[in-house]
């Protein structure tokens, strides 16, 4: 199998490696094999991106969109999904291929949450989606008088707007699950045919590993740029003791950030030092947007009234359309690992922010490395920050493992370090395999407790003393595999 020269090189290499290095090499070679086959199978470069839009009442269309997404992705297409209620007509790019999964509610009506979208479609001018290649799948219940009315209506509107169906509209009854596998198969076949004849080459975002340090306007506190609040909302729900804001900022300046960077907020009182927040968005996925995850800090004043943290209160009070002054604070010490490397992320509370960025980025890039998240907060039902996104990342196999610690959902408090301890075997195996270990969030006590737990489990699983375990972690730190962004 090997040439004489190759064999000699290999022998030479093997004779000088330690057993540990051999183990690492085995893993490395495995990764290389994966890389080559993936590259063959995919070739996303010459295929148009596919968007799957769903209009769902009970979640069936949404669940179906996930299955379809997997198959389309496996066929080598870039693919995203979205609920129609989250998009405007202008968000539909006629260069993409659009697949609509549409449920019907009651007497031929669209699902309640998607009514505004249908209204917008109806109001749009003829040919405003000219040349859009699309397909429609309707789900309905034939015991109602108007079967799949919403899907039929959608198809009519798309035609009027200049769209071209690349396959016949299909309408399925309540037993749709029997027919969908076949439909997905034929849809993927049709997509492949379509890609073969696609006239315009789609734009491909090339993601490179190199990270250059930017300088100048937008990158220091002295030269901030203007941002506009695009959206703001509280991620926590009823019953929560917390107010964690998700804030989205758009900007016109030509600035760039990387995963792991922070956004520096200039406060209205310019004597105040700017505050840094880990960026929660992915530069590739959330184009031209910066997202923040901000906990509103509260404290009890001497007179018993509630006081708020200056910066977090300022951000919490921002409304859509407000302007802010900010800059990118680059963080060379908290970079996203190369695509083929496994990563373990520990980010309780707002410590989750950079990992949201990481995972969207890795999803967009199609990174091969495995991703494992440890998250914790007070209550699962009201404090699970970005829950629906993590569920979707698990369903699409972008996220491989998730372990959760909700401290107040049982009598005894459980924290992320307790979950790490429970998973000791796997954690140590991932680390031995070259995984990068990230921690983001409170320095004290969280990051210290996590560190202590790591020392415990490494010394325990490798039967070495605590000093040797500390050395193991120091080595990781030197190799850039133990990264902390704690505050």
């Amino acid at each position: 199998m090997l040439s004489k020269d190759q064999k000699a090189l290999l022998d030479q290499l093997l004779s000088s490696t330690t057993p540990e290095q051999k183990v690492w090499l085995a893993g490395f070679m495995q990764g290389q094999i994966g890389l080559d086959t993936d590259a063959q199978a995919q070739g996303t470069a010459d295929k148009p991106p596919v968007m799957i839009y769903y209009a769902t009442e009970t979640g069936n269309s949404k669940a179906l969109s996930l299955s379809l997404m997997k198959s389309v992705k496996a066929a080598g297409f870039k693919v995203k999904n979205s609920a129609v209620n989250r998009i405007k007509l202008e968000d539909i790019d006629p260069k993409t291929i659009a697949i609509f999964l549409c449920s019907t509610h009651g007497e031929g009506d669209p699902p309640e949450t998607s009514i505004p979208f249908f209204d917008r479609l109806k109001a749009a001018a003829d040919n405003s989606l000219k040349d859009l290649s699309y397909a429609v799948l309707g789900l309905g219940d034939s015991s109602y008088e108007i079967f799949c009315g919403a899907a039929t209506n959608l198809d009519t509107q798309l035609k009027r707007l200049g769209g071209e169906a690349f396959q016949e509209k299909e309408l399925f009854d309540v037993d749709y699950a029997i027919y969908t596998p076949k439909w997905i198969e034929s849809t993927v076949n049709n997509l492949n045919k379509l890609a073969g004849h696609a006239g315009t080459a789609p734009q491909i975002v090339v993601v490179t590993e190199e990270q250059t340090l930017h300088t100048g306007k937008g990158y220091t506190r002295l030269e901030p740029v203007k941002g506009i609040i695009k959206d703001t909302l509280i991620l926590n729900d009823i019953d929560s003791q917390k107010q964690t804001y998700h804030i989205e900022v758009t900007y016109d300046d030509d600035i760039h950030y990387s995963c792991g960077d922070a956004i520096g907020i200039i406060l209205p009182d310019e004597n105040e030092t700017p505050r840094l927040y880990s960026i929660a968005s992915s530069p590739s996925y959330h184009e031209d947007e910066i997202h923040m995850t901000v906990a509103l800090a509260t404290y009890t004043k001497e007179d018993g009234t509630i006081g708020y943290g200056l910066a977090s209160k300022y951000l919490a009070d921002l409304k859509e359309g407000d302007k802010i002054s900010f800059y990118i604070s680059q963080n060379q010490l908290f970079n996203l690992a190369p695509d083929d490397q496994d990563i373990i992320m520990v980010g309780p509370g707002t410590g989750i922010a950079p990992f949201r960025s990481f995972i969207f980025e890795r999803a967009e890039r199609g990174s091969e490395g495995r991703n494992w998240l440890f998250f914790g907060d007070q209550h699962a039902h009201c404090d699970f920050l970005y829950q629906a996104e993590w569920q979707e990342h698990l369903a699409t196999e972008v996220l491989h493992k998730i372990d959760l610690a909700f401290s107040r959902d049982q009598d005894e408090k459980i924290y992320v370090q307790d979950r790490i301890r429970e998973q000791a075997d796997d954690v140590v195996e991932w680390l031995d395999n070259g995984a990068v270990f990230y921690v983001c969030g409170a320095k004290d006590p969280m990051s210290k407790d996590v560190h202590k737990t790591l020392v415990d489990i490494i010394s325990d699983k490798k039967s070495i003393d605590r000093d040797a375990a500390e050395d193991y972690l120091s080595d990781m730190e030197e190799q850039g595999r133990y990264l902390r962004d704690v505050y």
Binding site: G106, S142, L233, H381
Partner: protein, 562 residues
């Protein structure tokens, strides 16, 4: 299809496989309940948790808001208790209120089957709630699922000296037909785990497949039919000579679930198959359930209730099979008559001089309105610890076995909290609605949230036509499943789409005749217009003592040969 061709392994419904594969209703419930990734559970566990008295639900009105918060839907659980005959102690009531405030949404719902349920229990609170129940000597075993559900028993203690003796049968039947699995203790109460290599507990009645579908048993003592005895899979009509209790007339095959647009599904009233002496009644119930277990349709869940088995095989065949297994025959049914279905509101004194008070609880929701504070009143009364609590099949509560010396104390609490039985019209007092939106996943239209408003509009029409003192049974359910028994109402509304209902009219006043479809789909304005017209005709043309239901039936649905 012949019985031999039915239920071939390859044709069984998916739920059947879940049951037999569940190792005594365990499935992966323990693991699923500790998975905090989602507040929901998987499909198999969704089916199995019903047998534990719980449904996984989501607040449908909050879906959009939750999606915007990047959270999954607001999943939570409904837990329904098993309270045969509807009786609990004052201490138990206090414990339930406390538990509901701590773990659920704070509003206990009295159901149409004499029990209560909690809504909005999130996953992490499920075990603590179940442990609360256990500490109170209560449980939720078999309150839902393909098993014998909560056994009902008529509540009015006035009418027969043998009321207590009959009432006790609810508990005895419930115990005899309880699943034998230890899964409940294991999953909810940290009981010992059944080792993976050991088979589940033997269960002579349910075996490993349970019943094909839900199964309901209810007892009434004539002349009261407050539990709609003909709506039950087994309806037991207590027969005695006024002093001594002798046994039951047995009606089988009642059931109301139907599906819009599926003509193979329909509501059906129970058929009386004979009389059984009291000492053989439990055995008879057990064997009827066992024959249904063996002959029921396990392929199509919409054809699985006992009513369809009876109509497929014939009542005589089914009865014969039960008699063969019992080793005796049913006697000829004894005469009886019904006069009432609603509760006897207010104070009653029984033959032992004990006092009882029936409180009106609109749609069964135990909450405080500004001028009608049910929740506070019940709490304060329970704190006195001088009476028992009995839930009625009409979603109300009776305070029972009160000594004369305590009556005044209770009256004070009632009056302080605005509780009275003179405030509502008779129509309102007898009205029933199911939960429906926003938590019931089957609901197509509003139920309990709409009933108070709808009744007010019916009352206005009754006033207009001088019919204010006539009780007219009005029932609303959010779907054709029929939890609120709308098929035996004089005015029955069955949800079809938001704001739209099937209008059924012409049921009789005591629940012996089903109503008929008058409009397949109507909104409120159309319904009120129809009622306005009918009330006018009823006011001027009704015979003496003729109920609205009888009048409407005669006018709208009776055809005469010429």
């Amino acid at each position: 299809m012949s019985q031999d061709e039915l239920n071939k392994p390859e044709n069984l419904s998916p739920v059947e496989k879940m049951k037999t594969g569940s190792r005594g209703l365990r499935a992966n419930l323990a693991e699923e309940m500790s998975n905090s990734l989602t507040g929901n559970i998987n499909e198999t566990e969704t089916q199995m948790i019903k047998f534990h008295g719980s449904y996984a639900q989501d607040d449908r009105s909050r879906r959009e808001e939750r999606e915007r918060k990047k959270l999954e839907w607001a999943y939570s659980f409904m837990i329904r208790l098993r309270i045969p005959g509807g009786d609990i102690t004052a201490k138990q009531w206090l414990g339930l209120q406390k538990s509901c405030d701590t773990h659920a949404n704070g509003t206990i719902k009295i159901t149409t089957r004499q029990t209560v349920q909690f809504h909005g229990v999130v996953k992490a609170h499920m075990k603590p709630t179940m442990k609360d129940f256990d500490a109170l000597g209560l449980d939720s075993i078999a309150a839902c699922g393909d098993v014998n559900r909560n056994v009902m028993s008529g509540g009015n203690p006035l009418l027969a000296p043998y009321h207590a003796e009959v009432h006790a049968y609810a508990d005895k039947i419930s115990e005899a037909l309880l699943p034998k699995t230890g899964a409940f203790k294991e999953i909810w109460l940290d009981g010992e785990k059944l080792p993976q290599d050991q088979p589940a507990e033997e269960d002579p009645l349910y075996q490993d497949r349970y019943l094909p579908r839900k199964f309901k048993i209810g007892i009434v003592i004539p002349p009261h039919n407050e539990n709609d005895v003909f709506s039950q899979d087994i309806g037991l009509i207590a027969i005695g000579d006024g002093k001594t209790f002798e046994g039951f007339n047995v009606a089988i095959g009642g059931g109301f679930g139907a599906t819009h647009g599926n003509s193979k599904t329909y509501p059906r009233l129970g058929t009386i198959i004979g009389f059984v002496p009291k000492d053989k009644a439990i055995e008879a119930c057990w064997q009827i359930a066992a024959v249904q277990r063996d002959y029921g349709n396990r392929e199509d869940r919409r054809q699985a209730r006992l009513k369809y088995t009876l109509d497929r095989l014939g009542v005589e065949f089914f009865k014969g099979e039960v008699e063969k297994r019992l080793g005796f025959k049913f006697e000829e049914a004894r005469p009886y008559s019904f006069t009432h279905r609603g509760d006897a509101f207010g104070w009653l004194q029984d033959h032992k001089n004990k006092w009882h008070y029936t409180m009106f609880v609109e749609t069964g929701l135990v909450k405080d309105l500004e001028d009608y504070k049910v929740k506070t009143a019940l709490k304060e009364i329970a704190e006195l610890d001088c009476c028992g609590f009995r839930f009625t099949g009409n979603q109300n509560v009776m305070l029972i076995d009160i000594d004369k010396k305590n009556k005044t104390k209770i009256e004070k609490i009632l009056s302080k909290n605005g509780i009275s039985t003179d405030k509502q019209s008779k129509t309102r007092q007898e009205a029933i609605a199911c939960v429906a939106l926003p938590t019931c996943s089957l609901a197509l239209a509003e139920g309990q949230r709409y009933l108070p408003e709808f009744v007010s509009k019916v009352e206005a029409l009754q006033d207009k036509h001088g019919l204010s003192d006539k009780p007219i049974t009005t029932r609303i359910t959010g779907c054709p499943n029929g939890c609120g028994r709308p098929y035996v109402a004089e005015i029955g509304l069955i949800g079809k789409a938001p704001g739209k209902y099937v209008l059924r009219l012409g049921g009789d006043y005591v629940g012996k005749r089903m109503n008929s479809v008058y409009r397949e789909e109507a909104d409120e304005a159309e319904i009120l217009e129809i009622l306005d017209d009918l009330f006018a005709k009823y006011a001027s043309n009704a015979k003496d003592g003729e109920s609205f239901g009888d009048f409407a039936n005669e006018l709208l649905f009776t055809q005469y040969a010429i």
